[in-house]
């Protein structure tokens, strides 16, 4: 087998795996292909035990399941269940943070506090909580109550967080479509109920339920998680960090935090600081906490922790042999990691009671005893270092510089330096004059099936050449960071003249002494909320709907159900959503037509599937051109 077309660091480590006889995702993918087209088309139904049933894509064999469900019904039910998987992840994430904050306020979790009083007040006031004459603790308790109300109310009133964060015009649109959502848990229950055997068979009704799930995800998941995390851990600010697997250090205790929820990794980082002396006693040059996947994004944008790897590289980080402990919380944790860790002196630690992996050491992490557990985990890493010390490691040299932490607050702060009274005006002026042709939010995962085409990087470069500003989150942000696209140098290397001029001016205004990077890191995947906030602010300032802006969304390397539901939320907001590979809808003519065409008449958004990076960039630009034309610019 020839060498794979991969980035240097990944290629080196995949080769090392092969030489050591260690299996990786690439080996397993090889054994999976070709993959079943019924699954890819979405037309395999496993919901009841008269099945499994499959629909013949040629229309000659089975055209219905045993119960009579058509391909349209089957595909739409399956899609809704994917949406539920994604929304449950984000709502669960937000709930964990809310409940932890509650424990903090009740004095039961002394390891945490409130880091941003400003954000607390902003959120509280947005939720119509009276703040005058109240202590921070009292205000925060009311904020938590409002959050928990979104998981418990039975009165059908819209989600508090939707009212807090969704633009007004879109709220009215959703109301008229009958898809305003109330209690996230009820919505999730109803979606599972309606998609179980013998319930909703109307594909369009099921697709509307998908939009509802998108709203649940956006507001009771993403926005709520972002807001509460900002309150607890601080609002991200721009900082310069290093990215790629090369951030591991041979002579330090390397702790890789992996997953999504910062509750754990914040404490690990804190204790890594407190146990430096123990590490040096063990012969280590300090403790090096590095971030993988979205926990990496959370830590890097608040504490300039290096971004070591995106999800697809989670095995590769371990293949260096230099990681002393990999500590994981929730979501996107490959079960194979425990196996790879076994091959080295790496301690692989799971922490969430509902995320256990055979071969892992489990340290149950509870907010009440967070300090104890974090201390224990860091100590385990130091012990593992002692066992590793002197052994051969393979740390790739690749290490790039990246600016991270473009929260909306930070972006506005920079813009205020250009126009104090009307900070969005400079952006709008430059969109109107064409210096900024448009903007695309590129987010999501790193897909093993598309990584060897450099899908994300090629698409980003093509957009930048055409003066399209890019904002990013999630594993996509790791890919962009490794490609150097989050660094100032990329502005000169890739951007068209108009965008280059704007970013240079903004960089000067921000006092950076160099241009702003052309791709703005806005956080973890829950922080797609920040992108929506920015879009809402722009639309609000112009008095238009989000769907009228010359912008689009893209998940160029879809992997997780979470990306499906985020994309659906963006469809509800009125965005063109580019996706690759295709979501599992092609088995249904109705789902394909509604999601890629007809839905535009309802929300203004539509899905767009394209696996070629250049064609995808061109498709996104064609959409931006249409929007510009409609706005008369």
């Amino acid at each position: 087998m020839g060498e794979r077309n991969l980035d240097n660091a990944s290629r080196l480590l995949i080769k090392r795996a092969a030489l050591s006889g260690i299996e990786t995702g690439y080996d397993r993918l090889g054994k999976q292909v070709p993959q079943c087209a019924f699954g890819q088309l979405g037309s395999c139904c496993r919901i009841c035990y008269m099945g499994p049933c499959r629909i013949d894509p040629f229309g000659e064999g089975a055209t219905k399941g045993v119960c009579g469900a058509t391909a349209d019904t089957i595909v739409c039910r399956n899609l809704l269940r994917e949406e539920v998987g994604g929304a449950s992840s984000h709502v669960g994430h937000a709930r964990h943070v809310a409940l932890t904050l509650k424990k903090v306020l009740e004095g039961k979790a002394s390891g945490y506090g409130i880091a941003s009083r400003e954000k607390l007040l902003e959120v509280a006031q947005g939720l119509d909580i009276t703040v005058e004459g109240k202590s921070d603790r009292e205000i925060a308790l009311q904020v938590v109550d409002k959050a928990l109300e979104d998981l418990s109310r039975q009165d059908d009133a819209p989600l508090n967080w939707l009212k807090l964060r969704a633009p007004q015009k879109e709220q009215e649109m959703w109301k008229s479509l009958g898809i305003l959502v109330s209690n996230a848990h009820n919505e999730i229950e109803e979606a599972m109920h309606r998609s179980s055997m013998g319930n909703d068979a109307d594909p369009v009704n099921l697709l509307l339920a998908c939009l509802r799930m998108g709203l649940v995800d956006g507001y009771a998941g993403l926005h709520m998680a972002t807001d509460l995390q900002d309150i607890m851990f601080g609002v991200p600010k721009v900082k310069k960090i290093k990215a790629n697997i090369g951030v591991l250090e041979k002579n330090a205790v390397n702790i890789a935090v992996h997953g999504h929820n910062p509750l754990l990794s914040e404490k690990i980082l804190e204790w890594a600081g407190k146990l430096e002396k123990e590490a040096s006693n063990a012969g280590a040059k300090g403790i090096n906490v590095v971030g993988v996947c979205c926990t990496g994004n959370e830590l890097t944008m608040r504490h300039d922790v290096p971004m070591a790897a995106h999800n697809l590289q989670s095995e590769m980080v371990l293949l260096t042999g230099a990681v002393d402990a990999m500590v994981v919380d929730v979501q996107c944790i490959w079960p194979s990691l425990a196996k790879v860790a076994e091959c080295y002196a790496t301690t692989f630690i799971t922490t969430e009671p509902f995320v256990k992996i055979p071969g892992a050491v489990h340290v149950a992490f509870e907010p009440e005893s967070a300090d104890e557990e974090a201390k224990k985990i860091v100590s385990m890493a130091i012990d593992a270092f002692t066992a590793r010390k002197g052994k051969e490691v393979a740390i790739p040299e690749e290490k790039s510089s990246a600016f991270v932490g473009f929260s909306v607050e930070t972006i506005i702060e920079v813009l205020k330096k250009v126009n104090e009274a009307d900070p969005l005006k400079p952006v709008i002026d430059n969109i109107v004059n064409g210096n900024i042709y448009g903007a695309v939010g590129i987010a999501g995962c790193s897909n093993i099936k598309l990584r060897d085409t450099f899908m994300t990087e090629r698409m980003m470069e093509e957009l930048l050449r055409n003066n399209v500003l890019i904002v990013t989150t999630g594993c996509t942000a790791h890919i962009a960071a490794q490609a150097g696209l989050l660094d100032s140098a990329a502005t000169n290397d890739y951007c068209g003249e108009g965008l280059k001029a704007v970013l240079t001016a903004l960089g000067d205004a921000a006092g950076l002494g160099m241009p702003l990077p052309p791709v703005w890191h806005m956080g973890a995947c829950v922080d797609n909320s920040r992108i929506a906030t920015l879009l809402g602010a722009l639309a609000g300032r112009l008095g238009v709907k989000v769907s009228q802006l010359p912008v689009a969304g893209s998940a160029p390397e879809l992997v997780q159900e979470k990306a499906v539901v985020i994309g659906t939320w963006l469809l509800a907001l009125g965005l063109l959503v580019h996706i690759a590979p295709s979501p599992r809808i092609l088995g249904s003519p109705v789902a394909t037509k509604v999601l890629t065409k007809d839905i535009e008449k309802l929300t203004g958004g539509k899905a767009y599937v394209e696996v070629d990076p250049i064609k995808a960039a061109q498709g996104l630009m064609a959409h931006i051109a249409e929007k510009r034309k409609a706005l008369g610019i």
């Binding site: 292909v33 019924f38 690759a580």
Partner: protein, 188 residues
């Protein structure tokens, strides 16, 4: 004499043929026992072929090199069904048949220490049933029939395509089933 035929454009890579094949060739004919008790081996292998998938199996060649090269006479032809099959008891495990097979259809079973290959479901054939793979295929990618019938069907499809083209039906509508769209959108 009926034969197995494969229409590559219809294969969805669902691998139902592989499972049905392995089950048929296990001593148990049901899935749970076959998996739990006999580690069944498939004799058809669905392989990726660019954006297509193809179930590779023995084509039961008229001039079968595997029979000609077998030093022990284990590789034989069934006098009734004309299927090429292995008498596992006489196989010495030399794998010469594996080397000479043009299709990669003869594999080695470590447990049996003998080669295994498609026997076109000899026992089923004798009961008048189609081979398990053809029966399991949900899209008609694998069919069991007379060679003349197969080529007749192909000729008819050809004639209809030409008629459609002359009659003005666009190529897009000719190739617009969901599986083709999936291939074009990068499904693998």
């Amino acid at each position: 004499m009926k034969e197995l035929f494969i229409a590559i454009e219809r294969c969805t890579a669902c691998k139902s043929c592989e499972i049905a094949c392995a089950m048929e060739h296990s001593p148990f004919k049901n899935l749970s026992e076959a998996i739990a008790l006999s580690s069944p081996k498939r004799m058809v292998h669905v392989e990726k072929a660019r954006s297509y998938a193809y179930p590779v199996m023995c084509m039961h060649c008229t001039h079968a090199k595997c029979i000609a090269s077998c030093p022990t006479g284990a590789m034989r032809r069934d006098s009734e069904t004309y299927a090429v099959f292995v008498d596992e008891g006489s196989c010495n495990g030399c794998k010469v048949c594996t080397m000479v097979c043009p299709f990669g259809a003869v594999t080695f079973d470590m447990r049996k220490r003998a080669v295994v290959k498609c026997d076109r479901c000899r026992s089923r054939s004798k009961e008048g049933k189609a081979p398990a793979c053809a029966e399991a295929c949900p899209t008609g990618a694998i069919t069991f029939g007379e060679p003349d019938e197969f080529s007749k069907t192909k000729r008819q499809i050809t004639a209809e395509h030409i008629a459609d083209a002359v009659g003005g039906a666009s190529v897009e509508t000719l190739n617009s089933n969901p599986l083709d769209i999936l291939r074009k959108t990068g499904g693998r």
